[in-house]
Point group: C2
Chain length 321, copies 2
């Protein structure tokens, strides 16, 4: 939950007046999302989400994110659509922060996804990859394999305070992944953070994708690998092969995976597990005393990493070998 | 800000199905209010606020609050209207808590009220008092003069850790108020918590009152006294006589105050200041380490109390003597 920024009444009204959305009727802070401040606005023109970008988002990346959402929605992918101000710009400023207005998207995220949801997710993610194919902006993944070592260096000294032997285990895995990380896989726009809370459903049908603030240009199959981790493990840590099969089948009905992509999946899944293990570990060790946000457990991703280390064929993900 | 309770998907859907409001389309936790968990729902039937009542609210009081809102809205007072479930009941349960659904009310609260807002507030409060006149339920004020001493006893020992001499100052004031507290003033439904964040405006016109969870049966002029404190002091502690005059004139245009009510105002304002000083002091001393909610400063109300102690006529509130 997060609403970090207080906005003065007059400032908000002046901001709204730069858009063609009529008078402001209501503004409520939303207790969701941890990176940015989000407000649900009701104006004479409809319902909108106002986002103030807090310091974790690089302002230089915002044109990529906003143009991407606009591009995807023009390709009939359901996602929040950035609203242009009267000067035609998608990106503005409010309360000293970069700010943008997007359309309100109905739908709810599913706290306990079932295989049907995973199938829908697979389909939606493939639609995203296809719709993004002709997007003309690029953004390198700022949390790609080359970025993990510097991140690890910032928390390796205290890693063992979280779990004994963690530093050595990460170091070994990192060395392996740096050596074998696949190159030349089909690449394009990936969401890179397609966790359940970023995927909306209505009556068990996917109704939209949100939160494109990690989106980047990378191997498409890496997005699939992220979702194997984010959607296909149970709360007790067990891998649910039925969900994985449903997700992969949902995906490949829209965009078939190549042989090289199938083969790379276990390594990509290890990499994805390590990426979230590292960022969570960093957050865990960096959280100030008395902070409002409880960091997510890094060890959840250590368990996922270990699972994929034992995978030697896509059979483990529920597919025919 | 507060969303305390996590509601499971299936439980929420089952809850919504007991109302005639169509399918659930969206549910967002609102980062407002400190007492209860509030969610903004979008369903096929419109927009609603779902409230889960947390432990500070006595469940036995809920029928009073919900029936009051229904009564007031039937008298054309703009406030959230409780929605009855298919069984006709206004009060339900969700996630182990009492729960109710009310209509969504447009409007925004004003962080820095101007005299025009105070005038509107006065008018709206008087409309509330008039509309409540024939409400047939009663609820004694659970934070009335007789309740202050027991509250003080719970925090007197540590009061001086907040401000040296505070315990003695409160004790003296309490003894005085217990002796001179006015009796026999016109009584009825009061809101009892009509702070700026509970009063909605649209284009500087009052658009509605919310949060009736302190409403009770008490002296109507006590509500006015609460608002003298909540609306007519500047952030630097100065009393703004222009705002007080605007508020009182707005009120009396709808419901004239009697001579006894005018005369009682300074004492009622002292009592109201002491009531909020005591509850804030209690919260300040009770807040657990690392709590999510920052308690409000009790000393703000010590300053307000001292101001009213020096008032000997309603001239100080901007009115003709």
């Amino acid at each position: 939950m997060a609403v970090y920024t207080d906005v003065a009444d007059e400032e908000l009204s002046a901001f709204i007046a730069t858009y063609d959305i009529g008078q402001l009727l209501s503004c409520k802070g939303i207790a969701e999302g941890v990176e940015n401040s989000n407000y649900l606005l009701h104006t004479e023109g409809g319902y909108f989400i106002l986002t103030l970008y807090e310091k974790r988002v690089n302002p230089n990346d915002l044109p990529f994110f906003l143009n991407l959402m606009q591009h995807l929605s023009s390709k009939d992918l359901s996602c929040p659509i950035p609203v242009a101000a009267q000067d035609g710009k998608l990106l503005s400023a409010l309360a000293g922060r970069p700010a943008a207005l997007v359309t309100f998207l109905d739908g709810m995220w599913v706290k306990r996804p079932k295989p049907e949801h995973c199938s829908e997710l697979g389909r939606g993610m493939a639609n995203l990859h296809v719709a993004g194919a002709d997007f003309d902006m690029q953004r390198p993944n700022s949390l790609a394999v080359a970025d993990w070592r510097p991140l690890f260096d910032q928390c390796s000294a205290r890693a063992d305070t979280v779990f004994p032997g963690l530093a050595a285990e990460i170091d070994k895995e990192l060395t392996h992944l740096e050596r074998v990380w696949p190159k030349g896989l089909p690449s394009g726009v990936i969401h890179a953070d397609l966790f359940p809370d970023n995927v909306f459903f209505l009556s068990d049908k996917l109704s939209g994708l949100i939160d494109f603030y990690f989106a980047c240009t990378d191997a498409l199959a890496y997005d699939v690998a992220i979702c194997l981790n984010a959607w296909c493990f149970e709360h007790d840590g067990a891998f649910n092969v039925t969900k994985a099969r449903a997700m992969l089948n949902g995906y490949t009905k829209v965009r078939p995976l190549s042989g090289a992509e199938y083969e790379a999946l276990p390594i990509l899944a290890r990499g994805s597990a390590l990426r979230f293990l590292l960022t969570r570990l960093y957050d865990w060790l960096s959280v100030p005393e008395g902070a409002l946000v409880t960091p997510k457990d890094p060890l959840e991703y250590l368990k996922k990493l270990r699972f994929h280390q034992d995978v030697d064929s896509i059979e483990s993900y529920g597919l025919e070998p």
